[in-house]
Symmetry: C2
Subunit: 145 residues, 2 copies
Amino acid sequence: MENLDNYDLPLFPISSAAKLLNISVHTLRMYEKEGLIIPFKKESNHRLYSKADVDRLKCIRRAINESKISIAGIKTIYSLIPCWEITKCSGEDRNNCLAFKAHSQPCWTFKHENNPCSKKNCRSCDVYNQYAECTKIKELITSFI
Amino acid sequence: MENLDNYDLPLFPISSAAKLLNISVHTLRMYEKEGLIIPFKKESNHRLYSKADVDRLKCIRRAINESKISIAGIKTIYSLIPCWEITKCSGEDRNNCLAFKAHSQPCWTFKHENNPCSKKNCRSCDVYNQYAECTKIKELITSFI
DNA sequence: AAAAGTTGATATTTATAAATATCAATTTCT
DNA sequence: AGAAATTGATATTTATAAATATCAACTTTT
């Protein structure tokens, strides 16, 4: 996490982000379809990526290429983030929440209705933002227990 | 988990276990080397597997073949089990524990010295036993928070 | 004694996830 | 106007994890 005030601003179109990461545009769209990344979308539907997004994607690439964790594995690990604690979900909200029960999809890949998340944008949610790094997830779990 | 009183007994030599699982003997040894399974060992060093072991291995095979989670991914997920809660590890014990800090290896792949685990056999530990199924790990985390 | 187990290499095969490359029809950016 | 973006297919390539198959030298089981 760099200390830059434009760290979270939508700066890069998909082609620039792909160049920064040295991967193809298609791969970026694939990561999005899998729920690993949520880029900004202009009204025109064009994607824009922040520096934070690029860092998140670098982290994902390390997990895939160095740690040898498959995309399905990363999704499963993301699904273990105790989102209900971060969002202060009530007991009733949890029981009605597909994300709470999920164990192969991150919470932010679900549609949230009639719960604290319905008003939020997952892109700017702490659940999505603070734990891109798999290594931080254990610390997170530890901190909540 | 079948309701059989011989469920946890060392019954099958490696060749029989391999046949039951329809995989090769070498693959079973590989899973052991990766820390996914801890079979019984006779004094002669020969492996023996229980029905519980076979069920655990079936679960691991489903994660690999159906859920498409890589072995490295499974190990990472296992490392997220809050062992320190299950074993009632003290704060000081945690800080001295490699397993507590690990995020790519299950706790039972470490040597435990001078902590509550040093007296235990991981094979018969709840951390190892009760959460072979990845889907149960989220429930476990939830239960502790 | 023969069969089956052990460790520890190394080498090869197989299966498939991950990534790339296309296409087309359309829209937006500069 | 031309470049670059969009969605949504389909097809192919590439990289490598997972699994198998070998060795050899030795020990244990039956």
